[in-house]
Symmetry: C2
Subunit: 647 residues, 2 copies
C-alpha cells in the first residue's frame, strides 16, 4: 500500500490508492475531520492525474473540492436517487478523484485521465458516476430541471446538486434556466456556485463583473445562501438548513479560492495586467508539482498525526518527460497575433472582441497595444456576437474571438442575424478540429463548417501553416466584402510540407503540396494536411502517387480550378478535420458532382463523436493519422478499381 514519503522529489509522481482512503474513513474522528483529510488526499490524486495526463484543470478542481467531498461523504444518498454533477465540467479531475475515493470509479482510472478509453477531460456519461455531459457552459441547471421533471413524472425521488462556476454565470442560459425553476418550485434542485472569483484568464470582477450575485439569484425567485466554501462546518450547517426548504430551488454562493490547498496555486489576489492565474488549465511543471505535493503531504500528515494515526502511504511512479518532437512544430497563433497587430496598426476601425480566452486566442499583445479597441465580453458569446453586429453597423470592423466549438454554435443565430445586415465581421475560432483530443467532445470542434458554412457570403478559411495566416487574415479584412470565419488549430504541429514560393491564396482555389497522378487528396489545416502528406509518402512506397492539395477555402470551391486539378486523377479523396456530413468534403464532392467527370470520389473524416484521449491515440482511433489515411486510400483505390468503374 505504498510508501511513507518524507520529501517529495522532482521526477516522481505520487498518488494514494483507494486503501488509504478506506483507512482514513475508519479512523476514530468526526466525519468533518475525516472529510477534511480525504479532500486533501483527493487533491493530491487530482494533481497526480493532471501531471500524468499533461493537462487538466487544477484551479477549479481544487476550489470545488471541499464542497464536492462533503456532498459525496455527508449529504447525498445515492441509493435514494440523489445526483451530483458539475455544470462547468472542467473540475472533472477533482470529481474523478472523489469518485475513485468513494469507490464509484475503479482506481485504475487514476492513470487514465485524458487517455483513450479512460477519463475524458470533461464529464461524459460513459464514465461511471457521471450523470450528464458537460464542458459546454451554462447547461447544467436546465439539465437538472429536465431530470427533476422526469423524476416527478416517473415517481422517482432524489435531489439534484449542480455545481456551476462563477464565470459560467455570464452565460445567458443560466438566467434563462433560473426563471422556470422558480415558477415550478423545483425544491429538489440545489445549485452550488463555486465562487472562486477567477475565470479562464482574469478575475471575474475584471472580465465581466457579476455584481451582487445574491441579489440576482434572489430576484429570480431562488432561495440563496452564501458561505465559505472551504469551511466544512459552514457547509454542513448550510446543507442542513436547506433540507427544510422544499418550495423553492436553492442556490449556495460558496466563496472559494481557486487552486485552494496549495499556497502558491491559490489565486486570491491575482488580478493585474502583468500576471494571470497560472493554474486554470495545463499541468504543473516538475518543480511546481513537487512543491505542491510536499505541501499536501505535510498537511495531510499533520492532520493524521493530530488524530494519532499513521502518516499517509503513497505510491510513486516516475514522471515521464513530455515527448520532445524531433522537429520544431509550427504554431498558428503567434503568426495570428503578429498579423492582427499589423492590420490593426494600419486600420483604426479594427476592434477585437473576446469571450474569456484572451490568452488562448493570442490576444494579450493586442490588449496591451490597443486597450481602447479591445472588448472583453466574458463568457457570453451571444452577447459578444450581437455587440459586434452593432459595432459593424456603426462603422467599426470587429474581429470576434472564441473557440470554434463555441463560436460556431452558441451564437449561431446571432452570426446569421449579423450576416443579414450585410456588414463585415471577422470571426476567429481557435481550438478547431479534433485535436487537442484531451478536453473531449465539448471542445473538439468538428461541426463548425456545417454550422456556419451555409451563411450567405460568410466565407470560411483555414490556414495550412503559420505563413498562410497573414494572407488569409488580410483577405478576410481587406479582400472580402462581407463576413468571414478564420478557422484556427491551436496545437503545435510538425509540418512535413512547405507552401510553394510566391503562393498567394485565391478564393476557392487550392495549392498542391505534393505531386502525384493517381489520387488527388484535398484537405485543409495543419493536422490533416500533415497527415495526408505523410500518407502520400507511405503510399508512394506502394506504387501510388498522391497529389495532396491544400484548399484553405472551407465552403467555397472554384469549379474551373477543381476541374483542372482533377483532370488526370483516378480518385478524389477529401479529408475533413470535421464530421463527414457538412464539412469541406461535402462542398468539394458536391462541386465535383456538378462537373460530372465520372471520377469516383471519397470522403474521410469523422463519422461518430470522437473520443477523448491523447492526440496520437485519437487520431489513430478515428483513422485520420497518416497510417489510417494511407490504408483507407489504398482500400479506396482497390475498391474503385475492382468495381469496374473507370479507374
Amino acid at each position: 500500500m505504498g510508501d511513507l514519503i518524507g520529501t517529495a522529489t522532482d521526477g516522481t509522481l505520487y498518488f494514494a490508492r483507494r486503501g488509504e482512503f478506506e483507512r482514513i474513513e475508519k479512523l476514530n474522528a468526526s466525519r468533518l475531520e475525516k472529510t477534511e483529510i480525504l479532500a486533501e488526499l483527493a487533491r493530491l490524486n487530482t494533481l497526480y492525474m493532471i501531471a500524468a495526463a499533461g493537462s487538466g484543470h487544477i484551479g477549479s478542481s481544487f476550489s470545488s473540492m471541499d464542497v464536492v467531498s462533503y456532498l459525496y461523504r455527508c449529504e447525498m444518498d445515492r441509493t435514494k436517487g440523489d445526483l451530483y454533477f458539475s455544470s462547468k465540467g472542467h473540475d472533472a479531475p477533482g470529481l474523478y478523484a472523489v469518485l475513485i475515493a468513494e469507490g464509484v470509479l475503479d482506481e485504475a482510472n487514476l492513470h487514465k485521465l485524458r487517455k483513450i478509453d479512460g477519463l475524458p477531460g470533461h464529464p461524459d456519461v460513459a464514465v461511471p458516476g457521471m450523470v450528464t455531459n458537460t464542458g459546454s457552459l451554462g447547461m447544467g441547471i436546465s439539465k437538472a430541471k429536465g431530470m427533476a421533471f422526469a423524476n416527478r413524472r416517473l415517481g422517482k425521488g432524489g435531489r439534484l446538486f449542480v455545481m456551476t462556476g462563477d464565470g459560467e454565470l455570464q452565460e445567458g442560459q443560466i438566467w434563462e434556466s433560473l426563471i422556470s425553476a422558480a415558477n415550478h418550485r423545483l425544491g429538489e434542485i440545489t445549485v452550488i456556485v463555486d465562487h472562486n472569483k477567477i475565470q479562464s484568464d482574469f478575475s471575474v470582477e475584471r472580465t465581466s463583473s457579476l455584481g451582487d450575485l445574491v441579489a440576482k439569484f434572489a430576484a429570480f425567485g431562488w432561495h440563496v445562501e452564501r458561505i465559505d466554501g472551504h469551511d466544512l462546518a459552514a457547509i454542513e450547517a448550510c446543507f442542513q438548513r436547506l433540507r427544510a426548504i422544499a418550495d423553492r430551488p436553492k442556490v449556495i454562493v460558496a466563496d472559494t479560492v481557486k487552486g485552494k490547498g496549495v499556497s502558491f496555486m491559490e489565486g486570491t489576489s491575482i488580478d493585474s495586467d502583468v500576471e494571470m492565474f497560472k493554474f486554470h488549465s495545463g499541468a504543473p511543471q516538475s518543480g511546481d508539482y513537487t512543491r505542491a505535493v510536499q505541501e499536501l503531504i505535510d498537511r495531510i500528515n499533520g492532520k493524521l498525526t493530530g488524530l494519532g494515526a499513521q502518516p499517509v502511504m503513497l505510491e510513486t511512479v516516475e514522471r515521464k518527460p513530455a515527448p520532445v518532437p524531433a522537429e520544431a512544430p509550427a504554431r498558428l497563433f503567434p503568426a495570428y497575433t503578429e498579423a492582427l497587430l499589423a492590420q490593426a496598426g494600419r486600420n483604426d476601425r479594427i476592434v477585437a472582441l473576446d469571450a474569456d480566452l484572451v490568452l488562448d486566442m493570442g490576444l494579450v499583445p493586442f490588449t496591451q497595444r490597443f486597450p481602447d479597441r479591445f472588448v472583453e465580453c466574458g463568457i457570453a458569446e451571444m452577447d459578444m456576437v450581437s455587440q459586434a453586429g452593432g459595432m459593424a453597423l456603426n462603422g467599426l470592423l470587429p474581429v470576434v474571438h472564441s473557440f470554434s466549438c463555441f463560436l460556431s454554435t452558441r451564437p449561431n443565430e446571432q452570426i446569421y442575424n449579423n450576416a443579414t445586415e450585410g456588414t463585415k465581421i471577422v470571426y476567429v475560432g481557435g481550438l478547431s478540429g479534433v485535436l487537442p483530443a484531451g478536453p473531449g467532445h465539448s471542445h473538439q470542434s468538428v461541426r463548425d463548417i456545417s454550422c456556419l458554412g451555409g451563411v450567405p457570403e460568410l466565407v470560411m478559411v483555414e490556414p495550412s501553416c503559420p505563413e498562410e495566416v497573414g494572407p488569409l487574415l488580410d483577405w478576410c479584412l481587406n479582400g472580402h466584402q462581407r463576413s468571414s470565419f478564420l478557422r484556427m488549430i491551436s496545437i503545435p504541429y510538425v509540418l512535413p510540407f512547405k507552401l510553394p514560393a510566391g503562393y498567394v491564396p485565391e478564393p476557392g482555389r487550392g495549392v498542391a503540396l505534393t505531386e502525384g497522378k493517381d489520387v488527388v487528396v484535398i484537405s485543409a489545416g495543419m493536422v490533416m494536411l500533415a497527415e495526408a502528406v505523410k500518407a502520400a509518402g507511405l503510399l508512394k512506397a506502394q506504387g501510388l502517387s498522391v497529389k495532396v492539395v491544400n484548399l484553405p477555402w472551407l465552403n467555397r470551391v472554384d469549379r474551373d480550378w477543381l476541374g483542372a486539378t482533377l483532370a488526370d486523377a483516378r480518385l478524389l479523396v477529401a479529408i475533413d478535420n470535421h464530421y463527414l456530413t457538412g464539412g469541406q468534403g461535402d462542398v468539394v464532392l458536391s462541386a465535383a458532382a456538378e462537373l460530372g467527370l465520372g471520377l469516383p470520389c471519397r470522403k474521410l473524416g469523422l463519422s461518430a463523436v470522437p473520443p477523448s484521449g491523447t492526440n496520437e491515440q485519437v487520431l489513430r482511433a478515428v483513422g485520420l493519422d497518416a497510417e489510417g489515411i494511407a490504408a483507407s486510400i489504398a482500400a479506396m483505390v482497390q475498391s474503385v478499381s475492382g468495381s469496374g468503374t473507370q479507374v
Copy 2:
C-alpha cells in the same frame, strides 16, 4: 386628401395620408395632445397595413405605439445621432406607421407591407429608418451596446433607445447583455420593456412568469423606472427624469395593454385555457377590421373636435378578398397533431416541450389531453433543449417544438450536447423553408439542414404531404435509435401529387412522384415538390421527361438506391428549400460524386438572403416557382448537352 368617414363599412380599407399627420401637427394644442392623436392615427394606418398585407402583428404594434410615438415626436433628436429600434421586431408595422407619419419613410410604403421590395414583416436595415435587423428575439440590447461602443470610439454622440417585449425577456441573451452594460456604465442606452403581459399564445404569467421584473433589472445594476406606457404625461416625466442619469443604463418597465386602442383587441384579461389572445399576429377579419377602424375614427374625431379642428380625412381602398385556391390545400400540422396524440397514447414516456408556440406547433390538443406531459418553456430555446436532455437521461422520450429558424440555431450547441449523450430526442421544427415569406429572413428557415445535419446520428426528415407525417414521426419515435429532426412546413399548400399506394418511408430512399428518363429531380417537402412536379409538367411540353423524386431524408442518402435511381438519367437536379450550401442538395450531390457515374449534377436553391414578400412573389424572385425551376432545368440540360459532357 381623402374623405370624411362617418361610418366605416365592410369591404373597405381606410388609411390616412401624410398630409393628415402634418395638419394635426400644426394644430394649436400641446405636444402631448397632438402626440395622442397622431398615435391613434398611426394605429389606424397600422391596421390598414396589416389588413392589406393579410398578416402582421397588431397586438404589440398597438401596445408599444404610445411610447414609440412619444420617442419620435418628443424625445429623440435624430440629428444628434439618437436611434430607436425594436428588439422584438414584430411591432414593425406600428413603427412603419410612425416612420411614415414622421416622413422618414415614404408614404407609398403604406401599401407595401410584406410585399417584395416593400416593408418586411420584421425590421431590415434596407428600409429607411431601420437601424438593425431584428425578429430573432433577445439581441437588441447587445446590438445597442456595440453601437454605443462604436459611437464612443468614433467620437459620435447619440442615445440608443431599445424596445423589448416582456416575453422576450425569457431569452437568456437579454440577461447576458445586461451584465456588461452596467459594468461599462452605458448611460446612453435606455431600454423600454413593452410590458403588455401577453406573449404569442398566453399570458407571460402563465407561460413563464418573469416574477419581479423591477427587482431583476435592479439586481443587474440598471436604473429602473416603471410607468403606465399609455399615459403620455407619465412617459414624458419619465424620459425627462432619465436625462439626468448618465452613469448607468436605464430601463423603463412600461405597463401596456396588448392591442391597446381597440376595445375588443385589448388583451387585458385573456388568460384561460379556452381562449388565447387573438390579435398577436395575422390580419383581422373584415367585420373586426371595420369595427376597429370605427372605434379609432370616433376617438380621433372626438379629440380633433375637442380641439376645434376638422374631423380626420381618410383615403379608402377596396379590401381585396383573400385568394381562394382552386383546390383544397394540404396542411401538415393537423396530421402532426393527430400522429403525436396517437403516439403519446401508446407510450407514456413521450412528453412534449414547447417554446411559446403551442398554437403554431399544433400542440393545443396535446396540452388538453396530456397536461402533465407538456412543458411550456417560454421563449427559452436553450433551456428547453437542455431540459429535454435531462428528461431523456432520466427515462423520458421528449419531443421538442419550435420554429426551425430558432430551433436549429439558438440551442444549436445544446442539441449537440444532448447528441453526445446518446439519448433519443425528437426535435420538431415548424415554419421551415422560405415560405411563408411575409415575416422575413429572421423567420425563413433556410439554413436548418446545414446547422444540424452534421450532428452524429441525428437524422433529419421532412414530410412531403400530410400522409407522410405519421410514418415519419413513427420512425423518429420508434424506428430510429437516436435523435431526429422533423422539418415541417407551416403554410397550407396545394399538392399536385400523391404518394404511391403502399409507400412506406425507408431510410435514405426516395419515391418517384412523376416518371421521366431525361432528368431526375430530387427534393423534399410540400413546396419544392409541388413546384417541381408542376415544372415537370411544363418541361414535358418541351419534350423533356422529368422524374421528380421525394426524398424525405434530408441528411442521409442510400447509395444503392441513388445509383439505381440515376442509372438511366442524363442530369440530376437537387432542389433545396434551403441555401445551396449545406442543404439536402449537397448531401445528394456528394453521394452522387461517390458513385462516380459521370452524370452532370446541379443544385437549385437559395444563394442569397431571401426577400420578404408574398409567397408567390418570393418564390418567383428566387427562381423556385414552377416556371423558374422549369427554366433553370431547361438551361441546365442545354448547358450540359452543349458542353460536350456525356448527356
